[in-house]
Amino acid sequence: MFVPSITNPVGDFVREMVPRLAEYLPASIQSDTLNSIVAFLVNALICVIAVCAVNIGSAPILIYMERKVCAHVQCRLGPMRLGWHGTIQTIADVLKMLFKEVYAPSGADKLMFYLAPLIVLIAPFIVCALIPFGRDLVVADVSMGIPLIIAVNGFGVLGILLGGWSSNNKYSLLGALRSGAQMISYEISFTMILLFVVMISGSTNLMSITLGQEGTISDWWIFKIPVLGIIAFILFFISSTAEMNRAPFDIAEAEQELTGGYHTEYNGTPFAMFYLAEYIALVTNSALATTCFLGGFLPPCIGVAFVDNYLNMVPGVVWFFAKVFFMIWCYMMVRWTFVRPRVDQLMDFEWKFLLPVNLVLLIAGAAYIVVCG
């Protein structure tokens, strides 16, 4: 009988432990199949809890962070009243959203209307499961990591399109169509950059991509290949911003034009889910950038043994989240600094600039590998 197994260090630990514990059971129901099934279920439960904890736990922190960053960019203070410097403001927001009235507008396709926010949530959750947070901390250490991410990322647009279409609102529909065109276009350059990383690292497994950067800072993919790495990183930054529908590429929401775009008609919990998806996507994209370019959970060693010893003492997961939050901070600063391009300019930018540059980058990367590597 085939029993699926999850290949990660935690999984190995559970698989080891389950037969030992099973010895205490009566011998009549002991069997290897049962052990592996129980091990799988326990594993799956742990993994689900871990992914949910990272995602749902980080979203309120990020919303608070966004409000504070935004406020300080704009010479304000931001939330101040609830908790120390407004730290528990988001909890109040979330609780309030949960207990708000929920209804669908008349003429809306009710099934699709309520399904859309769930679909939007799928993609960032799956991506999160693939990312190595530390040497032993990865939910699914699959060998086809990058192709799986590319495949799953396309899911987000489906939810937005469905949500916009089923709302029975012209603003929503326009926002959804804009978003569809934008996300599909930018997915191409997003994919290209990931392919560039795959090419130079020689692996599609995220763990081995990370471990390939072991050494000093100059061994990270962003610095290892001179110039090309930094260009690739900047291109990744742009295309992932567009992929997430974040300002300045938030033409799908475009509050000034479309009053919120695809989520104009959403309220209460479904709206909170869209909000949540936006911020989880922020975490996963930052994590992806960290893994592919900034050395993942590896400490920023500088080649001096005395300093490096101390840096290595810090757990990898701390380094990982430090880098992730630095990336998130960059995304937020960009969001509150730039103005929004128009929809056709955004398309022009992708098809006439980003895509050709990406192709050139791929060829240059290949040439570099042939010549130097």
Binding site: C70, V73, Q74, C75, R76, K170, Y171, L174, R178, A247, P248, D250, I251, A254, E255, Q256, E257, L258, T259, W336, T337, F338, V339, R340, P341, R342, V343, D344, Q345
Partner: protein
Amino acid sequence: MIQPRFSNLPPGFRIQRETNTEEFFINMGPQHPSTHGALRLALRMDGETIVELVPHFGYIHRGMEKQAESMSYLQYIALSDRQDYLTAIQNNLGVVIALEKGMNVGVPEKGEYIRVMLQELGRIASHLVFYGCFGGDLGGQTCLLFGFKEREMIHDILEEVTGSRLTTNFFRPGGSRYDVPDTFIPRVKAFLDHLEDAMRDYERFLSKNIIVLERSIGIGVLSKEDAIAYGCSGPVLRASGVEFDVRRANPYSIYDQFDFDIPVFHNGDCYDRYKIRIAEIHESMKILRQCIDKFPKDGPWRSKEKPVRLPVGRYYSEIETAKGLYATYVVAATTGEKPYRIHTRGPSFPHIAALNKMVQGHKVSDLVTIMATLDPVIPEIDR
């Protein structure tokens, strides 16, 4: 070829065209974040492209002109605050000049200086709101806050002088309600020094930003002929290449004593309308600096107080507010304290009338940009 789906167009739409695609209608407003108040715009769209636009007014029509007929002249000054609330202090002057023409009273020199300084402060305040709304409507929320940040300092000065932040109700025939406090001149001076630095930052923030340039150059072009024909005035007219400013064409108060330029741009697109307002802030600062130098320390700040009674006749005044030509037309059928009719010509009304001409063939996003650069105030249109 698909026949147009709407054989009978809704009222207001006029363009008859054959199309391969299906047109649809979008309703923007009356509650919409970028219509600058309670304005409703009916858009006829082909995909994201606007075919035709019909503005619907009246959502904030408050019947001010009817009400003015049973009010005294002085009470109407307070109503004029509530027309264009961004330039309330300028509207006051427009009404007061018309009354002065009827009463035949003059203003002493210090009173005129107070008027000019408050006018220019009001102009800067309005243009700062424009700066904020322009950036904000393009999607840069941060600009909105930057514009309002410096405006608060003007409000502090206005509050010290007039006692009110927004609706000032300050000028009276023959001068103003109060003298300015001693701290007025130093505060304006300090504010100007601060604004000089701030404007440098703000221009760096928007003027050279590639996305702003892409989104505003060549968008919403209003030709010189159209601008005149539709009765546009103020920065919108001057951005289209017409050098017309009431301060220079028919100088009122003591504007003929100051050395300032009328900035004129010639493309008539959104970027020029943005640049011209930035240039006007600098010109206003120039006038304010001259006022500070020449400000008379002593002397009366208003003329002898008289009851506001106008002899029979029709009186007309026009001033240049931050938005454009603001004209007041007072009809006195009997000598007395009440007008027979007061009519106000606000600058925003013709701008919205010309909007249809500007947006055709542009995208929805451009409509937002164009609306922001017209800088309309809807209660002044509807009155």
